[in-house]
């Protein structure tokens, strides 16, 4: 040892010095740490193992708690590992398991160190080595050290043995072939009387069974014995875990274990064990009615407990039950609904899921109402959680639980007005989707859309822009159902639309275009029909109205209904006069003029289209309105032609497009698909391609009649609403005098509107959850068939695409090498050589590439004998096989055969003989399920 390094080691800081220094440093933590790291780098190069190990210890500390890289110390760690001293070894192992990973370069060098320590006589050294192996094992290490671990599995030191058992799981995972060597010994340990070892073994099997339960069915008798005999709760929990995986695979096993599990549930005082029993019953034994009843009873105890943990777990268990036994939820609905207002967000979300599980077609509207009201006063996160779950539940399977779509659409509108709502995109999708699929809902959809569009406050909320674009689209597309199209144009062009992103603004303009065309068309068609007899202003109903014509809203409110019924069948209840048309045309020019210079091409182009149309038609309209003489007829005809043309262009109905539609289109010659069309997507993203079955020109009129009758039905109510919203619009106009002035393009409009649905204004919302309970108490029970006012409207479904491809695939048992190896051991290595190929058919088909072992099972046992090379262990194995044989092997074939013949034999004595005889006959049907010993039957 050289001088300086001696000095170094004498004055080296210990770990304690480091920790103290770190707490008292004045130079800043990071600076202190990097200074210490420098020291450590120097010290770790020392030849003195004590210095080196102390440096390594300090480094592990810094790495563990301050996450500093210690990969540079990989080799020094190995050097310390080779020290004979236990203290050094311990430090080295700690450092290695902290920092080594699969790509550590010196990993190759550690094998011999580990082997040496695994063979050590000091049980603590063995334990350290095992611990390290469990953490850093890779394929090579697992393969090379399998013999050592195998030996330790039957070590007479319990401390070592149980650690080896725990580590064997990692070895199996990394190197599945080790199963062939170690599995028998692992199984032997299942019969150990020591609870610690038993706990370790059962833990290993619980992990293994999670991955591939089927392979472990043959061990069911052993597990059953443990379940019945165990007095140790840790063990019982693990065994229950195993059974919850095995029971679904084998109904007879489920019947067998249900009794002991119920006994445990009744008698245990430990909540953790009780919960595991409950979970096992509700996940795996849910066919057994009485067990489920008992479990639900216990869940109830959890739910009413003060402890939030138990409450949470109870709700979770209830959610698992809900899939098959909905009654369990309805029985506990008060608790569930009360939990909605729990302080704990986790509990709230669980109970929300449960409430949604109770939703059916009978109570969907009541539950949604309660939840939406509740969402209004919840915190933003939970509010959106509620909205999201309502949306997803209602839209499930193409809105299968929705009967009243008018209600649903208005609910969507209402949800988007909730202040915290961030589900705009989903609401947007559903509004359009419902509109496309359900014809009957369109009038209501347009009404909802109008209410949304007309409210200037909503434009300031960026989360709602999606909803607004859907509303704009719907009002343009289904404008024929609108009661006041002119108002729509105004709403679509209001100045605050400049708060919208360009893509949505373009939709607004396009919709305004559609609505305008519709207005003009209506006006012109009517003008043509009526003009010969009397002009519009001379009509009896119109006279009084025209006197007070300043605001046509008044007119529409008072006379709208009459006007619609009397004059015009095109459903526009507000009469469209020439003056109003001209006003609107002026408004369009005013609003869109500035947009001609917009930087967004889409907005610019649409604005140009609309303005071009206005330019084309305006002179005609002006002339006809001023002169009303025959000489303008020529021009008027031309204008009406244009209008009719445009109207026809827009009147084709858009239908839902199946997502596979594109695939059905054959590829035209000369089309290069490889070309990048990504740019097009941005431009065309919001254009829906028309469906192939377009409707003829006449069809809209048929629908309009429906719409009309609808509007007659609801006219009174609607009038009130339109009163309210038109006054809103009027107020808005008053506030913004510049509404009728050209607004500068860059002008930013102040965002000082009150939030759309100010919770403080919602005085009438019941604020306590007791009311909430009362509200739903009746609604949750589907007691009677509600008399729906009208039958459920048709929901358009597309051929095969909308039917969600239900995953019918059975979860295939993972056929990885690990389970393959386990199967080999449990099914394949019986001493009886297979008399015919079919007795092993089901197994061998799954084990490709391992045929050699099946064709000669003797050889395999020989192989494993060579593998352990230990005569005593060989004897032990034989004994255990003999034991197994006692209650298993002789009837192995019987079992298989019995299953093949349909499990007819119930009686044991005679049935056994019979089946044995039959077993000699060649079997046609291959065995399907693995063997379960008779013991369980």
């Amino acid at each position: 040892m050289s001088g300086p390094s001696l000095m170094d080691s004498l004055f080296q800081r210990s770990l304690e010095d480091l920790i103290k220094g770190l707490r008292q440093q004045l130079i800043g933590e990071q600076a202190f740490i990097s200074k210490s790291l420098e020291e450590i780098r120097k010290e770790i190069k020392s030849t003195d193992l004590s210095t080196k190990s102390t440096a390594l210890l300090k480094l592990s500390y810094l790495s563990n708690l301050h996450f500093h890289d210690m990969s540079f110390a990989a080799f020094p760690a190995l050097e310390v590992l080779s020290s004979p001293r236990f203290s050094h070894k311990k430090i080295a192992y700690q450092a290695i398991s902290l920092s080594f990973h699969d790509s550590t370069p010196v990993l190759l060098l550690i094998t011999n160190h580990l082997r040496k320590d695994l063979n050590s006589t000091n049980e603590f050294e063995v334990s350290l080595s095992l611990q390290c192996l469990s953490r850093i094992a890779n394929v090579d290490l697992a393969r090379d050290l399998t013999p050592e671990v195998f030996t330790l599995l039957s070590s007479n030191k319990l401390y070592v043995r149980k650690r080896a058992v725990a580590v064997v799981l990692r070895v199996f995972e990394k190197y599945p072939d080790s199963v062939r060597v170690c599995f028998k010994r692992l199984v032997e340990n299942l019969e150990n009387s020591d609870p610690q070892i038993l706990s370790a073994v059962v833990g290993v099997f619980a992990e293994l069974a999670c991955k591939d339960p089927r392979s472990y069915l043959p061990l069911a008798p052993e597990f059953y014995k443990i379940l019945v005999d165990s007095k140790n709760n840790w063990v019982s929990i693990k065994v229950l875990k195993i059974f919850s995986k095995l029971a679904p695979l084998e109904p007879r096993l489920a019947k067998r274990v249900v009794e002991p599990i119920c006994d445990l549930m009744r008698n245990t005082g430990a909540k953790s064990l009780l919960f595991e029993c409950i979970r096992t019953v509700v996940t795996s034994l849910c066919e057994n009615e009485s067990a489920v009843r008992l479990a639900v009873g216990k869940v109830r105890e959890f739910l009413v407990d003060e402890d939030p943990n138990l409450k949470y777990l109870g709700l979770q268990a209830l959610r698992i039950v809900a899939e098959k036994h909905l009654w369990a939820v309805s029985e506990n609905k008060e608790v569930v609904i009360k939990s909605l207002s729990n302080a704990d967000p986790n509990i709230k979300i669980e109970s929300l899921r449960l409430v949604m599980a109770m939703v059916s077609e009978h109570n969907v509207s009541e539950i949604s109402r309660v939840l939406v009201n509740y969402a209004l006063k919840s915190d933003p996160v939970f509010c959106n959680e509620i909205l999201g779950s309502i949306l997803s539940t209602c839209s499930r399977n193409l809105y299968e639980i929705i009967v009243d779509f008018d209600w649903y659409v208005s609910l969507l509108g209402e949800m988007s007005r909730i202040p915290h709502c961030q589900m705009g995109d989903e609401i947007e999708n559903q509004l359009i989707d419902v509109g496309l699929r359900v014809k009957d809902v369109r009038p209501e959809l347009v009404r909802v859309a109008r209410d949304l569009l007309i409210d200037p406050a909503l434009l300031g909320n960026s989360f709602l822009h999606g909803v607004l674009s859907a509303a704009a689209w719907a009002s343009g597309e289904y404008v024929e159902f609108s009661r006041n199209p002119l108002e729509l144009v105004e709403a679509l062009l209001q100045p605050r639309t400049n708060l919208l992103p360009p893509s949505i603004r373009a939709i607004y303009i396009q919709s305004a275009f559609k609505v305008l065309v519709f207005c003009l068309h209506t006006c012109f068609m009517r003008g043509k029909n009526i003009a010969p007899s009397a002009s519009l202003d001379n009509m009896p109903a119109g006279v009084s109205a025209s006197a007070s014509y300043e605001s046509f809203e008044d007119f529409s409110v008072e006379n709208g209904a009459d006007a619609a019924v009397v004059h015009d069948q095109t459903c526009a209840s507000a009469p469209i006069t020439k003056e109003s048309i001209v006003n609107i045309l002026n408004l369009v020019e005013l609003a869109l003029g500035p947009l001609l210079g917009s930087h967004d091409v889409e907005v610019q182009e649409r604005a140009r289209n609309l303005l071009g149309f206005v330019d084309l038609t305006k002179p005609g309209i002006l002339n006809s309105s001023i002169q009303e003489k025959e000489d303008s007829e020529g021009k008027g005809v031309e204008t009406s032609k244009i209008i009719k043309l445009m109207h026809d262009a827009f009147s084709k109905e858009l239908g839902p497009v199946s997502s596979s539609a594109q695939g059905k289109v054959s590829l035209p010659d000369g089309l290069v698909l490889k070309e990048n069309l990504g740019d097009l997507e941005m431009i065309c993203g919001d254009i829906e391609p028309p469906s192939s079955n377009s409707f003829s020109f006449g069809s809209p009129y048929e629908e309009e009649k429906d719409g009309l009758s609808f509007s007659n039905l609801q006219i009174k109510e609607a009038n009130e609403q339109s009163n309210e919203s038109t006054s809103l619009l009027a107020e808005h106009r008053k506030r913004h005098g510049l509404y009728y002035l050209p607004s500068g393009k860059s002008e930013i409009i102040s965002n000082d509107y009150p939030p759309a649905n100010d919770p403080t204004l919602q005085g009438d919302i019941n604020d306590n959850t007791d009311d909430l309970v009362k509200l739903t108490a009746e609604s949750l029970v589907p007691k009677r068939k509600p008399n729906h006012g009208k039958p459920r409207p048709v929901v358009v479904k597309l051929d095969e695409v909308d039917e969600k491809p239900v995953a019918r695939k059975q979860p295939e048992s993972r056929d990885d090498s690990l389970s393959g190896a386990v199967r080999d051991i449990l099914f394949g290595s019986e001493d009886i050589p297979p008399t015919s190929s079919q007795s092993n058919l089901s197994n061998s088909s799954k084990r490709k590439g391992k045929e050699k072992l099946h064709t000669d099972p003797h050889m395999e046992s020989k192989e494993s004998a060579v593998g352990d090379g230990n005569s005593s262990s060989r004897r032990r194995k034989d004994r255990s096989q003999g034991k197994e044989r006692r209650h298993r092997s002789p009837r192995k074939k019987d079992d298989k055969e019995r299953k093949d013949t349909g499990q007819k034999e119930k009686k044991k004595g005679s049935g056994r003989h019979k089946s044995r005889q039959r077993a000699e006959e060649p079997l046609k049907v291959p065995a399907q399920t693995p063997v379960i010993p008779d013991f369980l039957l």
């Binding site: 210990s14 770990l15 304690e16 920790i19 707490r23 004590s50 102390t54 210890l57 500390y61 790495s63 563990n64 708690l65 301050h66 996450f67 890289d69 001293r85 236990f86 203290s87 311990k90 700690q94 990973h101 699969d102 000091n122 603590f124 095992l130 611990q131 469990s134 953490r135 401390y159 149980k162 650690r163 725990a166 580590v167 799981l169 990692r170 609870p195 610690q196 706990s199 370790a200 833990g203 290993v204 992990e207 999670c210 140790n232 840790w234 929990i237 875990k241 909540k271 953790s272 919960f275 595991e276 939030p308 943990n309 409450k311 949470y312 777990l313 302080a343 704990d344 986790n346 509990i347």
Partner: protein
């Protein structure tokens, strides 16, 4: 199985970490930052379970220290709470009414105790007495050779 064990102080300082699956150093910092944020912000009377990246994290606060364990989705939360309590009791017995400072200055000992308790993410020893005995035996093992070297392992 248990994926990792974390001890975090109320101020967000990490007091002990143990990883039973390979996490890179970067992932470790990220995990701690994420979980620290979630767990420390939860109020005192809420349940002790947090859903996190498809796993469950069970935590419990003892005085100023949060003990957290990350487990699989189908593991038993209450069992893990008991394991945490078991660990705390053993620490308490070993240090004599344990406090955060004990763990700060005897970081490596807490680490060794945890190693006796858990192995490969599973509970190894459910008897407090046995763990105490094993730790004592190992400390003896540690002390013996150190007497000659002049280096004392504290």
């Amino acid at each position: 199985m248990i994926h990792f064990v974390l001890l975090i102080s109320r101020q967000g300082k990490v007091r002990l970490t143990k990883w039973y699956l390979p996490y890179s150093q970067k992932e470790r910092t990220k995990v701690i930052r994420e979980l620290g944020g979630v767990i420390l912000s939860r109020g005192p009377k809420l349940c002790n379970f947090v859903d996190w990246r498809g796993f469950k994290v069970v935590y419990k606060r003892y005085a100023s220290l949060y003990f957290c364990m990350c487990i699989d989705q189908d593991d038993n939360e209450l069992e893990v709470l008991e394991i945490i309590h078991h660990f705390v009791e053993i620490l308490d017995r070993y240090f004599g009414s344990v406090c955060e400072l004990d763990l700060i200055f005897n970081f490596h000992k807490a680490y060794y105790i945890l190693d006796e308790l858990l192995l490969a993410g599973e509970l190894q020893e459910s008897s407090k007495k046995t763990v105490a005995r094993l730790i004592a035996a190992q400390v003896f093992c540690l002390m013996e050779p150190c007497c000659f070297s002049g280096f004392t392992f504290q």
